[in-house]
């Protein structure tokens, strides 16, 4: 009994909580690698790779210099230099400035967005349209 009590009083690793969404505010600069399971919003400046399982939101005014950008859905309204690999859709908003390749299930580019790079979208061609390769 006493033993059980002692072990329960041990320092338990805190379980990850999905309470607050991860936000890197406008006044934050990060030089390094960011990785994670959840969603991430970047409003500041990041120099380095960003790999998240959840959705990535690059807000207006944000700046990313990354060789690798991986996430599920990616929404960009800021400035991005680097290749984007999404397992979901990629959306470039009207204020986006992107230099790099985009890969996702859907790619949408709003009017006003600036984009230089290649687009690779994995979607099913409608019936009747043969494979181009």
């Amino acid at each position: 009994m006493a033993q059980a009590k002692a072990s329960s009083a041990r320092h338990l690793p805190a379980r990850p909580r999905s309470s607050d969404p991860a936000v890197l505010g406008a006044g934050v600069r990060i030089r390094g690698r960011i990785s994670g399971e959840g969603d991430l919003s970047i409003l500041g400046s990041v120099e380095g790779d960003v790999v998240v399982r959840g959705d990535l939101n690059v807000g207006e005014g944000a700046r990313l210099e990354s060789e690798v950008l991986e996430a599920h859905a990616v929404t960009i309204a800021g400035e991005v230099n680097g290749d984007v690999t999404a397992s979901g859709p990629v959306r470039l908003g009207a204020t986006a400035r992107v230099r790099g390749d985009l890969k996702g299930t859907e790619i949408s580019i709003e009017e006003g967005a600036q984009f230089a790079g290649r687009i690779e979208a994995d979607f099913e061609l409608p019936a009747g349209l043969g494979k181009s390769r």
């Binding site: 909580r17 936000v23 006044g27 934050v28 960011i34 991430l40």
Partner: protein
């Protein structure tokens, strides 16, 4: 409400420089420099030198801490490193190993 939250599922390896409050729920390895307050919540892991304004630690911090204001180690906090601050409180139940320099 701080505008920067390093969420529980996020790991940053590198340098974080913030002009605003930072709340850490996840993991930072490297360096954390804030102009304002730093909160390390329970469950968070910071393996970095931390500098900034008022600081509240309830999680794990390994590294040297420099504050222009006060440092508060709450119950459950685990801090290994030297703390330099004008004021420091260590709550009952906080773990601390290191030196304290209050600049007297």
């Amino acid at each position: 409400m701080a505008s920067t939250v390093i969420g529980a599922n996020i790991t940053i390896e590198g340098e974080v420089i913030a002009d605003e409050d930072v709340v850490v729920q996840g993991t930072i390895r490297g360096k954390l420099s804030a102009k304002d307050g730093v909160v390390v919540e329970a469950g968070a892991v910071v393996e970095a030198d931390v500098s900034g304004g008022p600081m509240t630690f309830a999680g794990q911090v390994t590294g040297n801490v420099t504050s222009t204001d006060r440092v508060e180690l709450q119950s459950g906090a685990r801090v290994i490193g030297n703390v330099k601050a004008a004021r420091i409180t260590i709550a009952d139940g906080a773990h601390f190993k290191g030196n304290v320099d209050m600049d007297v």
